[in-house]
Amino acid sequence: MTTLFYLLGYLAVAAFVVLSCIKISGYLQASPLHVRWELYPVPHEGKKAAYGGSFMENTEWWKQGRHVEHLCDILGIFKEVLLLEATFKHNNKLWFRTYPFHFGMYMLMGGTIILTITVLCGMLGASEIWTGMNMGGVVAFIHNVINAIVMIGAFGILGGGIALICRRRSDQGLKNYTTAEHYLNIGVFVLFAFFTLVAWAVNPDYAVLAGTFIHNLLTGNFEAIESVSFVISMLCGFFVLLWIPLSNMQHLLFKYFMYHDIRWGDTPTAQSPKNQAIIPELLKKQVTWAAPHIAGDGTPKSWLDIATSKSTTQK
């Protein structure tokens, strides 16, 4: 059983990575170049972003060099991801429930990263660090931080998750759009957080427990984990990891593209030799739309054929 537990851990991580790559690759292949579909304000407009302005406010903008404030884009997406700014502005009641939930996740994700780095450092230099046997100074501090992060994060997920479920049950508007999967998605997180809290409470040092598990995963040492609550929380975590790319929780991966590539994707063709080269290739694609004004006669046509023909000649 112990081996199976560790194998499930590897499987969850591998599935997350592979499925995420497949999903992102699918997005990138859906279209080499979609139409511009920007929505203002666009942060990389710099000062203009304050009121939602764009380069198209400038006289003969195509004669000016393209200036993109990448830092503003990065700050914009960080603000949105870390503070859930749009939800705060436009769905305030939900924000007070979903923010603790997301904040809790960020805490646990951050804690996992810190702990993994600590374990890796230990493996590379001080082999006893991860076991907690030689705790003192920096390591003790890190472990204390991890323990605090886990407690706050798990409380956030637990409280926020329960509040989200209650809201979906009580708000008729939300209830109409809520399916079994919504409850599953939030419910698994709630379970994960609950057993994490139990493990945190009943074990003397959660950071050591989690650090040992990460070390065992990294080294292939399938040592039994004594804490049942920790094992259950990890099993929930494995499922979440596998499930994220397969459910609407994939917005974790796609928010970047939906903001940077779509909502803020305003690169004009005049200033993109790459896009200039792609457009003629796209117009060669064969179209099968069956309406009379397109390809209703069954003759193969490209987008170029259609654009250069008259509407009523397509019978």
Binding site: E38, A180, N275
Partner: protein, 530 residues
Amino acid sequence: MNKNVKITDVSTVEGQLISIEAEDLPPQRLDLEFMPWKPITEEQKKSVAYILDEVSVLNIPVPQNKEEEEELVNKFLSGMRKLFTTENNFTCLPMLETSMDNCVQCNSCSSACHLYEMSGEHEMYRPNYRSEIFRRIYKQYVKKEPFAKWRYGDMGLNWKTVARLGELSYRCNLCRRCAQTCPIGVDNGLIAREIRKIFSQEMGIAPKELHEKGTVLQDMVGSSTGMTEQVVKDNVEFIDEDYSEITGVEIHTPFDVQGADILLIHNAGEVIAWPENIAAFSLIFQEAGLSWTLSSKCAGYDGVNYGVFYDDAQLARIALLHMQAAKELGVKKIVIGECGHAHKAMTVIADRVIPYELQVPRESCYVTLRDIVMSGRLKLDPSRNNFPVTLHDPCNIVRLMGIVQPQREILHKIAPQFREMPCHGVDNYCCGGGSGFAIMSRNNIEEWRGNISGRKKMWQIGEAFKECLGPETKKYICAPCSNCKGQIREMLAHSNLYEKNSFAYGGLVELIVNCMENVNPGYIKWGEEE
């Protein structure tokens, strides 16, 4: 009212699904009169699918037997499959797929939608209502995902579902205010347009105002107004004569000047409905000493492109005609007149549809006008505009193109009593005529615009002028977009708001000409002066 309509009701309920009455609508500062729905006769109900509400935009014929019902469903599914292929939909597939897969149904979009709010928060008008129906059909019948019914919710698919979904795609102004508020980036406006594409591009079903009398007419004759080359030249010549007399300045609108710097493309509807706009542009460009011309080539004199509302093929055809007209004249740039969707179609959407070699740079008239006004080339007397003025932001130019300040710079210079509406700039609301509705008035569409889609704009106008409402003070609603003007005109006329509140509406150029020192005073007319 059947306010608690469920998503699945579209496939199960017989007859008309919902009805919205006067008492359902939120109160307004302005005295807006409810427009009673015209009764639908039994004869109409037998032939046209009036099964969503009192309105029929698509005129979908009621299937007369099982075979016809199945045919409608199968055609829809066939179109839906094509919509999710790169070949048939490279233009929008990434946006569509991400909107399909990432929505968490948080309903943040609802409060952003003027239709939801102004329908009395009717469930059917949640931006996500139609999206969710479409999403469930996609997951269950096209993608055929395992456990789709359990995961996403069941959705019966029959002719009623298809007909209602088609109509639902036309209960949206495509203003994309909802998309702006989505924390994830899901775009319900895009989904509405994609559904419209299936109906037009696969099933051959589109509103006749947008298709037969819109893009097809424009493609064949040159303009959706039906004006041919000769007619438009004659009409503009008449406008020049009339407005030379009115303004006291000799106006000459040039046509087909080879090698001019600027090709100005108006919405041709202005020539017929608002000649003062055409004259004002000609006067300003002439007095500013610009090198400019109009075109009489096919579509070169009509900037509209209704394809942007419903059909990618028609969009590409019209956009190409616009570029060809400009290329033939050898102009340095196209300046787009006061028409919102023409701005977006020609500048933003066509940008990745028309090969770059065939493109001519496009600039908004707001920018060109800003440069003229701020350069001092015109002698202006702002005291002639000393009346309250507010500005409507056309969604296509402001939220979807980020052109926000140029028009405001002009107004701050020439209108001493300019004031913003609440929720202005990129946070604006649609006029209510967006996505083609401004040119539709049959089958209770006009009533729908008056009762639901146009009410939020009237709220904004009422708030902007709240301290000077009533007939005593003349007020000007600056709406620099042809379709928006059409919508506002009808809203004001129906409730007699011209008289009750001394409103006048018009574009930006009329306001500029109104304060030009060398022009006879009184270019803008209020009700009794017209």
